[in-house]
């Protein structure tokens, strides 16, 4: 058995009396595409926010490559190799596409401000090297024609791609994708799926994906975790999850308790 890259153990997150996450545990193995699904408000994005350090869970532990992430600032977590995209695009609107992608390499660059002010050779070399890396991403994501445009004026589908590019520019070991195809049409969804597959095969990145598009999830994911009302109700391969009565109950409604009970009896 391989050592998991990311492990979450019994994380619980509360906002006052409102329970966002309740004892959620999972692990992500190297190179795996792990999907998290669940109805609206189930706690999917909250899970992401706990991993990337925006929220701090009250209990439980999250470890990445064996070291705990809890209590660390988001920028420290990012520097360890966890990149993410956001459900509602969080790009830097006034910066160009190039600058947005270059910003992803912030933690990989070292030139201090006093050297930058004199634009010393070290700074220049670093900027050039960063630019070279970024240009590969621009070509891969087909952003060549818009690379100088300020991000704010670009259409939604392209923004989603730029966000993916910015996360990849961080050269992460784990990529968190928060609804990468939300609000996209069939063609754009297909493009995005292809990008995700390419990233997997070429870079071998482990990915965690939150998504509502079930076809995409079931096609791409190695394992799927289903959460509902902050609790994990299923975890397994797409086939296992699709057959799970608790998942069916959560998605289609119905007498949850009865279904759960009968499911447990079946398992026994």
């Amino acid at each position: 058995m391989t050592t998991p890259l990311l492990t979450a153990e019994g994380i619980a997150l509360r906002f006052g009396g409102n329970v966002a996450l309740d004892d959620v545990s999972f692990d992500v193995r190297p190179g795996e595409l792990f999907a998290i699904i669940g109805p609206n408000g189930a706690g999917k994005t909250s899970t992401f926010n706990c991993i990337s350090g925006v929220y701090r869970p009250q209990s439980g532990d999250i470890t990445f490559r064996g070291a705990s992430l809890l209590g660390q600032r988001p920028d420290r977590i990012a520097a360890q190799g966890i990149a993410r995209t956001f459900q509602n695009i969080e790009l830097f609107d006034n910066l160009s596409v190039l600058e947005n992608l270059l910003l992803g390499r912030h933690h990989l660059m070292r030139a201090p401000w006093w050297q930058a002010m004199a634009w010393q050779p070290g700074t220049r070399r670093e900027e050039r090297a960063a630019r070279l890396e970024i240009e590969h991403l621009i070509e891969f994501l087909d952003l060549t024609s818009v690379r100088r445009h300020p991000v704010g004026i670009l259409p939604y589908g392209i923004k989603k791609r730029i966000e993916l590019g910015r996360a990849l520019a961080m050269q992460p070991e784990l990529l968190l994708l928060d609804e990468p195809v939300a609000g996209m049409n069939a063609e754009e969804t297909e493009d995005m799926a292809r990008f995700i597959l390419d990233i997997r095969t070429e870079l071998g990145l482990a990915m965690v994906m939150v998504e509502h598009d079930m076809r995409l999830v079931m096609d791409l994911a190695d394992r799927v975790m289903v959460i509902d009302f902050g609790r994990r109700i299923a975890l397994g391969t797409p086939q296992e999850v699709q057959r799970d009565p608790a998942v069916i109950a959560a998605y289609l409604g119905g007498a949850t308790d009865e279904v759960l009970e009968s499911a447990h009896q079946e398992q026994r």
Partner: protein, 417 residues
């Protein structure tokens, strides 16, 4: 249990190797590194690049400050004109231009903080005052009340950047915790606190209503208050001060521009646009905001030191909210987050009153003395207010934005886009 350790060890080693293998994004496009940035790349025939100012053949060229030959020529022309101007203009006018350049230094500093890093500050006159008094104490002459150590101006200028910077470092942790309007109010408080402090601390500032002279301009042993002859040129005191201001402005503006296009400048803008996302992307929020605050204060300090020298005598009441608003006007009218815009803005804000004075005799409703509908000074404040409002509504990128529009219009002429 002992078998676990080597196992996990191997796993991390594997991970590390894996990481090294995919350390380059080039795997995604399958292109080799050497193909695109080997030595000697980016050289192109002149015949191929002629008449195509936007054809860049290397990343260095593309990211250069003056990346088109038109920009290079215009910059060269502007610098030579400004080098010649003081020999030409009257003492009074070149003095006014020097003040404009000093305000431009302060404006560039404020634009780093407000334009790039998105933190509105009304406290900048406070840091200018700190710079002015640091300069005056270090390089000024002692008086009956005030202290002065009579060091060289070069030392005074360095300290006039360092001390406001350090004070900025002390204040920054407070300032970085609030944003927007709250920060504006907090820095306004700083301004008022400073005014009280300067009024009381008579041994440094000369006290309320009295004030003191600025630093004595003795630069590297040369007294700038004497007239020098360099070949056929006579360099009068006002000319050497002008040239000092010009040199510092060019150096500091280029440094700011370099900073803006670097990793740090991008982090400033990222924090301004979306701070949470910036943090998740690996930007240390506290450090970035603090750095913006400190650098900006240091710029203000240098400007303050020069300002005191130019004006001759500064009173504690001078560093007030009016000056803060003037500085903000420079940034807004010139163009938020552009360095060259700030230079235009400073020239505009400092020269406008003088231009109005010239125009006053031809404007029937304006009087220079008593009588008439409004005075020149009233007209000046009305115009300022109106201009700030107009620019914020119509052209948020300021004069630089206007220039940009004109440029693109002619670049694409006769087509409208």
């Amino acid at each position: 249990m002992t078998t676990v350790a080597p196992d996990s060890n191997r796993a991390t080693q594997d991970g590390a190797q894996h990481g090294a293998e995919r350390s380059s994004t080039s795997r995604l496009t399958g292109q080799s590194r050497a193909l695109r940035s080997g030595p000697g790349r980016g050289k192109a025939l002149r015949s191929a690049t002629r008449g195509r100012p936007r054809l860049f053949t290397s990343y260095d060229q593309d990211s250069a400050l003056l990346n088109t030959s038109a920009k290079r020529w215009w910059t060269l022309a502007a610098i030579s004109i400004f080098l010649v101007l003081p020999f030409w203009l009257t003492r009074d006018l070149s003095h006014l231009l020097s003040v404009a350049m000093v305000m431009a230094i302060a404006g560039v500093g404020l634009n780093l903080l407000t334009g790039y890093a998105g933190q509105i500050s009304l406290g900048h006159p406070f840091f200018m005052a700190l710079g002015a008094y640091t300069g005056a104490v270090v390089a000024g002459v002692p008086g009956s009340i005030v202290i002065g150590w009579e060091f060289d101006l070069s030392i005074a200028l360095v300290l006039a950047a360092v001390i406001p910077g350090l004070v900025g470092l002390v204040v920054a942790p407070l300032a970085t915790r609030v944003r927007g309007l709250y920060l504006a109010v907090l820095t306004l408080g700083l301004l008022m606190l400073g005014e009280q402090l300067f009024k009381q601390w008579a041994s440094v500032t000369g006290g309320s209503g009295v004030g003191r002279a600025g630093a004595v301009p003795v630069l590297f042993g040369n007294d700038l208050e004497r007239t020098y002859a360099v070949g056929p040129l006579l360099i009068a005191p006002h000319v050497s001060l002008y040239l000092l201001c010009l040199t510092l402005l060019v150096v500091l503006a280029v440094a700011a521009r370099n900073l803006a296009r670097s990793r740090t400048g991008r982090a400033f803008a990222a924090v301004r646009d979306r701070d949470i996302a910036a943090e998740v992307m690996g930007v240390n929020l506290l450090r970035t905001k603090t750095l913006a605050f400190v650098l900006s204060s240091a710029y203000a300090g240098v400007a303050g030191c020069l300002f005191a020298i130019l004006i001759g005598r500064v009173a504690p009441e001078q560093w007030n909210i009016l000056m803060a608003i003037n500085l903000l006007a420079i940034v807004v009218i010139g163009g938020v987050a552009t360095i060259s815009g700030t230079l235009i803005g400073a020239a505009f804000v400092v020269l406008l009153p003088r231009i109005l004075e010239w125009l006053a005799p031809w404007l029937p409703f304006v009087s220079t003395g008593s009588g008439g509908l409004i005075t020149v000074f009233q007209l000046e404040s009305i115009l300022f207010g109106a201009l700030i409002v107009l620019f914020l509504i119509l052209e948020p990128r300021g004069l630089f934005g206007l220039w940009h529009r004109v440029r693109t219009y002619f670049a694409t002429w006769p087509f409208s886009y």
